[in-house]
């Protein structure tokens, strides 16, 4: 009389004889893998191909291929496109730098604070991220608007100024918006990195005679470099590919690459040219990040 045993694998790990049954865990992977291959990798390759297509005035692109999209972009007679590329990179670096110096103390405080508000403060840093970029920009519009914004109207009301201070539709407004939107993206990686630094190291430094400031500079900051690296790269990439903020806070006065690209795609319907511009932006940004990472890894001996 045989008793039924629970379904356990053969001790020798033998399969059931069917490839599909043996590898049924692949079913977990295939839908997502398929999705990514078909709708992410392939479209990106397609986009590169698009940048080599002939532009057309009547439809989004014409038959045939060309490299002139790139030529026109780079060797334009006014260097218009290169100038915009440069402006975009400057915004990227500037925003990143400001986010770093503003965000670092906040991240350090949040990492080391023992106050019971710690969770609340963490929510304060996280919530703006989750609210959506259009809403946040709109908030700044209310505050900064040139004619009737909160700041201008209040200053005028109390007679501090006569006409208005231009706070929007210029570099200042866009820069402010960029720093505001991307600051949490700097704080969060820094927070993680600083939290992983053993507090005993700071105490050791103090016990050896270093003041708190010296300890920050000589011990904490170097050890937090992986987080600094992550945060700066993240903010930089986000800034140079940001469309909403410059459009809402800068209008047509502040022109950067993403705005230009979308213009080519939705307004001018010159898809190949738009694709070429997008590609130029990506490669430039990618190279900048690559060299930056190489440069900063030199300072990370002993930590990373």
């Amino acid at each position: 009389m045989t008793t039924s045993t629970p379904a356990i694998e053969d001790a020798r790990g033998q399969g059931t004889g069917s490839w599909l049954r043996d590898n049924r865990t692949l079913l977990l992977l295939l839908p997502t893998l398929g999705l990514f291959l078909a709708f992410l990798l392939f479209p990106y390759l397609n986009m590169i191909v698009m940048s080599f297509r002939n532009p057309s005035t009547s439809q989004v692109f014409a038959p045939g291929y060309t490299v002139f999209n790139y030529f026109d972009a780079i060797f334009d007679e006014d260097l218009y496109y290169l100038e915009i590329l440069w402006d975009t990179m400057v915004f990227g670096v500037g925003t990143t730098f400001l986010c770093l110096i503003i965000g670092y103390p906040v991240a350090y405080h949040l990492a080391r604070t023992k106050s019971r508000f710690q969770n609340l403060l963490y929510a304060f840093v996280l919530s703006p991220l989750l609210v959506g970029v259009v809403v946040r920009c709109y908030g700044w519009i209310i505050i900064l608007a040139n004619q009737d914004g909160l700041i201008n109207s209040t200053l005028r009301k109390y007679g501090i100024i006569e006409s208005f201070i231009p706070l929007m539709y210029n570099t200042f407004g866009v820069g402010l918006g960029l720093v505001h939107i991307f600051l949490p993206f700097m704080i969060l990686p820094l927070l993680g990195a600083i939290q992983s630094i053993d507090p005993a190291l700071e105490e050791a430094s103090q016990s050896l005679g270093a003041s708190r400031t010296k300890t920050m500079i000589r011990v904490v900051f170097p050890l937090s470099l992986p987080g600094v690296q992550a945060g700066t790269v993240l903010v930089f990439v986000l800034t140079i590919s940001s469309y909403v903020i410059p459009i809402l806070l800068g209008g047509l006065n502040v022109m950067i690459m993403p705005t230009l690209v979308v213009q080519q795609l939705l307004d001018a319907m010159l898809w190949p040219f738009g694709a070429a511009l997008a590609f130029i932006l990506s490669v430039t940004g990618g190279l900048a990040v690559y060299f930056y990472l190489k440069f900063t890894s030199h300072f990370m001996k002993g930590i990373a």
Partner: protein, 282 residues
């Protein structure tokens, strides 16, 4: 015998003052938007004019805004559903079964996070167009319009962007999972699927819930993807708001924005209640 007195030093005051200013800076636009939405005047002044709900009335009266609100909710819910399922299954595979492909797969799945959203949107825009053209050329007219300017196409974009977040949350739960629990279940006679259902799933549930809620919030607020992939005549709430705000400062937009903030806050509060805010760390 001296009692220890806490020293109040200038350096510390400056430090804490600076940090407070930064927090104020972070939250100010949100607070201002909410204030403006309740302000009776058309422009927010200091001090505010008065309390009024007229902008909310205007919002609920507006067909376009209400339409876009429901559309956004619909898209977000469907996106969350698929993203969570796909994210969970692939996380399980990558953490447990992927062997030497693990890091490659991880990189692939995290790609939408690493690549700028606008580029992904553009790539999909081109792809959908070319897909239609190819379908037409092949005579498969029934597939034309399947992705381009359709909700399906939009959803795919949303799913691609949100999936990495779900994946990160669940794979971190799985990394920390003590396999001894499953082995104990198996030793007691539970088969693979039962073990998964009764032991693994309940334990990683917080990770799944956190991932799903994050997914919802992100999808609801997505802009660039929705801008390029949306159908003609429909709009998600962020797009509708964007269009309105570009040309008009009417605080109806503030009411819309406040409702948007409210939805997000409710989702965050729900996450905190169910699984704790720390699960959102990635």
């Amino acid at each position: 015998m001296t009692a220890a007195v806490p020293r109040i030093r200038l350096g510390r005051v400056v430090y804490l003052g600076f940090i407070t200013l930064v927090y104020v800076f972070l939250l100010m636009p949100l607070v201002i938007v909410v204030l403006a939405s309740f302000n009776s005047g058309e422009f927010l002044t200091f001090p505010p004019e008065g309390f009024s709900l007229r902008w909310y009335v205007s919002f609920f009266d507006s067909e376009s805004f209400m339409g876009s609100l429901f559309y956004s909710l619909k898209v977000a819910i469907v996106c969350t559903f698929f993203s969570t399922i796909l994210g969970t299954t692939v996380a399980l595979y990558v953490v447990r079964f992927s062997g030497r492909w693990r890091e490659h797969l991880r990189l692939l799945i995290l790609l939408p996070l690493l690549l700028p959203e606008i580029l992904t949107a553009i790539a999909l825009l081109f792809f959908y167009y070319n897909f239609d053209a190819t379908m037409r050329a092949l005579g498969l007219d029934m597939f034309v319009g399947l992705f381009r300017n359709s909700m399906v196409g939009l959803l795919i974009g949303h799913i691609l962007i949100t999936l990495p977040f779900v994946f990160l949350g669940i794979s971190s739960s799985l990394y920390n999972f003590d396999m001894a629990l499953e082995e104990a279940a198996r030793s007691l006679g539970a088969g693979r699927f039962t073990t998964f259902r009764r032991v693994t799933l309940p334990i990683i549930k917080p990770g799944i819930i956190a991932g799903a809620l994050l997914c919802f919030i992100i999808s609801f607020d997505l802009f660039s993807i929705s801008l390029l992939l949306k159908g003609i005549g429909v709009a998600t709430l962020p797009i509708q708001l964007f269009d309105y705000v570009r040309w008009d400062y009417d605080p109806t937009a503030a009411a819309v924005a406040t409702v948007s903030i409210l939805i997000t806050l409710m989702a965050i509060a729900l996450t905190e209640k169910l699984v704790g805010l720390r699960s959102l760390r990635f």
